[in-house]
Assembly symmetry: C2
Homo-oligomer: 463 residues x 2
């Protein structure tokens, strides 16, 4: 009662309950003696709604009766089907599996900051624009369907932009979230941790693979220090958003606090907003951090339910013995968080600051109405978190390239994305995403610039 | 004797023969009474060489004894293993299967013109440059091998250019060979033949898919009228090399004469030389021609030995009934040429002017030392012809995109190429090749522009 009363001061409150027999009136009669009835503005049972969770129908009815759009609703629950129902209904979900106080803290955190703003700003895709684009394709001077995946891609860009033809997604910006990982010292990688900071310097100097590939495809590169375990404040071109100097070793305990995970999520959303404000029309996710494939694999195993071994890869190229150790660490970490419903808790326990930053960045970019090009296993983990925090956000993402890391394909499959390129790369930094930009830009320009049969006076096929 | 005597006036003449018992002296004794012995400068038997055809050893020994490099030798034979042995030895092959006079004509044609010049100019790939590129990759600031196919691609570019790092393959030019096909009237396509000329106008006006995609990836577009069945001479930006106004219907007889096929091959090689002279550093193959997927499938079936149905696709998108008819026509055409050893004869019988032009273009580009980006089923047929005419030329080609046409994969597989992109496109025009350019250019620029571990002061992995 106390909790609900606190909540009711800042929120409209309702309840949705699965019951095989009772209607609203009967449930309210049961709750009345405790004083709960009067705190609930609406109450929908599965009998009332004609459908039980995980069907989103009862939630949607509650939202409708409250007159609050699903995107502005938070659904609090203690079971996995609550999370599924919330996701299907397009609502934010807060789980009470780690205690009601923890859930309330997270609810509070979810109400303020760049991430919360982004989640509130996220609307549905404009399906009508996608349909208009597909229809326009058939009038262009080419056999119907002959541009293959470019045609669907153009329609997706139209749905994201809310107009057909979509604007050309140009200029493009790559954001590399750099962070260190305590688990790097647990024998999961042959690279010394100092390489993270050294590579930040290499990015700033323009000498890394992503700098070259971004130059080839006309994208700008932005490095975000979200958690490098060294002082890189002297590098002027770096966006400084350090949350802490690297995470703790996730094989021994939580990688960071929930507050730190939230801070990194907010920073990511802020960086996306900043790059959009600077005029960028498409954003590409990048990452750098020695040890980060271990954290990514743990998050992917935790959120997809996959076994650790199935999503653990060789990262930068490790031997069989190191792979076995890494795989064990991933499985043990994922096991600690299995069944947790809150993605932020999973992120804090076994994730990384780069992963959190990227999850916020994806949601921020999506909220800003621009497409996000994702690739790699670090981004794959971030994408799973983002999709849990803001259901539907994956529909605003384009998978640029399929990393050879097994976790990358598991993550993309879980959110229903199919990569554009498969060049057997496994470098990260956003290289695969940046390399896909010309394909994505071409899909928009085809819709904008190709002549129709009528315009070019080209005969159409005989029926 | 008369034929050999004629040949000996312009060529050095030798013989290579498979025999299980005889050595040179014994064969010469047998040939002497007819006057053949004195016409043969060298004679190598399989007993002398310690290997029989299709092993290239006897041919290489003859070439070595004559002091003439294999690339400058023509091997004349009447059996498939002669062709195989010639290809393995890096020699041009002329088959006598359609008569000695025909073979002599083809030998004469093979000695003059742009194609002959290109074939003579073709040298081996510089394997040392490829090795140097691969070695340099391991010094760059990234985990070894993490750029996947980009690393092999960079090495191939180095082998083609003969230097490491390779020059950036830029600027790029797309050449679209446009031609009509008599078979278009045989019910294999729902599109009227006039579309070929109309699309030439669309290319010239910049409104076709290839124009848009080439603009996206920074390539110029050049349209070659190699055989459009309409007067397009008024279009100034078109390269006019019309050999005839479309081919004859290949389902009823030869598509063209061998002389016409040679003229188209020469024109293709000339266009490649022209574009290279204009400063282009990489060439992309394109095609346009209503009915051309039928001719391409016939050439692919003939040269790979595949059944017609296995390499016949839906082209622009045809129904089941049309597909069945097309498949029958392909099979019957291929059957007419099965066992023919001379690719020019196959080209003339069941091919097209666009296919012939593209085969010449590929050889011309390769001879000019620039990489050629191939894609699509029409280019696939041309590539098979080019590889037969100039063995090894496929090593200078990069498959840009895998067409959904089944013949395209059969052709690429036959010459050992693996496409970079797979976006389910089936448009032709060079769209798939042009879309792959940024990936190819990136592979060279990575080698030229990335910092090494030493330059960037980045620590290397611990062993």
């Amino acid at each position: 009662v106390e909790t609900l009363a606190t909540l009711a001061r800042s929120h409209r409150v309702g309840a949705v309950t699965n019951t095989s027999a009772m209607r609203e009136r009967e449930v309210r009669e049961l709750l009345a003696p405790a004083g709960l009835d009067e705190l609930l503005e609406v109450l929908v049972t599965s009998v009332d709604a004609g459908a039980a969770k995980p069907d989103p129908e009862p939630l949607l009815q509650a939202s409708s009766r409250l007159g609050v759009a699903p995107a502005r609703c938070v659904f609090i629950g203690d079971d996995e089907i609550d999370g599924t129902a919330a996701a299907s209904a397009g609502m934010t979900f807060v789980a009470t599996d780690r205690g009601v106080r923890d859930a309330m803290d997270r609810l509070a955190a979810s109400r303020e900051g760049a991430l919360a703003d982004a989640r509130r700003a996220l609307g549905p895709l404009t399906e009508a624009a996608a349909a208009a684009s597909l229809e326009h394709q058939d009038r262009l001077t080419k056999p119907a369907g002959s541009l293959g995946r470019l045609e669907q891609l153009g329609a997706q860009l139209a749905a994201i932009a809310g107009q057909s033809p979509p604007p050309e997604p140009n200029p493009a910006a790559v954001a590399i979230f750099a962070a260190d990982h305590g688990v790097a010292t647990a024998g999961v990688t042959p690279w010394p941790q100092e390489v993270t900071a050294q590579m930040v310097g290499n990015f700033a100097a323009g000498g890394a693979a992503i700098n070259v590939i971004a130059r080839c495809t006309g994208a700008s590169v932005h490095v975000v220090d979200i958690g490098v375990a060294a002082d890189v404040s002297g590098l002027e071109t770096v966006i400084h958003r350090k949350v802490r100097e690297g995470t703790a070793d996730l094989s021994r305990g939580p990688a960071m606090t929930i507050a730190e995970a939230h801070a990194a999520l907010d920073a990511g959303a802020e960086v996306a907003a900043l790059l959009i404000e600077q005029g960028n029309a498409i954003l590409v996710t990048g990452d750098m951090g020695i040890g980060n494939t271990t954290a990514a694999a743990a998050v992917i195993a935790a959120l997809t339910g996959a076994q650790g071994a199935a999503v653990t890869g060789r990262g930068t190229g490790i031997d069989d013995q190191t792979l076995a150790r890494k795989s064990e660490i991933v499985e043990a970490a994922a096991e600690r968080t299995r069944g947790w419903l809150d993605p932020c808790s999973v992120l804090a326990e076994v994730g990384g600051l780069d992963i959190a930053g990227l999850a916020g960045f994806i949601i921020g970019a999506a909220a800003g109405g621009v497409p996000v090009v994702v690739d790699g296993v670090i981004t794959g983990a971030a994408l799973l978190v983002a999709e849990r925090l803001a259901p539907g956000v994956a529909g605003r993402c384009i998978a640029g390239h399929l990393s050879t890391e097994p976790g990358a394909s598991a993550a993309l499959q879980a959110v229903g994305l199919r990569p554009l390129l498969d060049l057997e790369m496994r470098l990260g930094e956003g290289t695969g995403g940046a390399l896909a930009l010309p394909v994505i830009q071409a899909s928009a320009r085809v819709l904008r610039e190709m002549a129709t049969f009528e315009q070019a006076a080209v005969s159409e096929r005989e029926q």
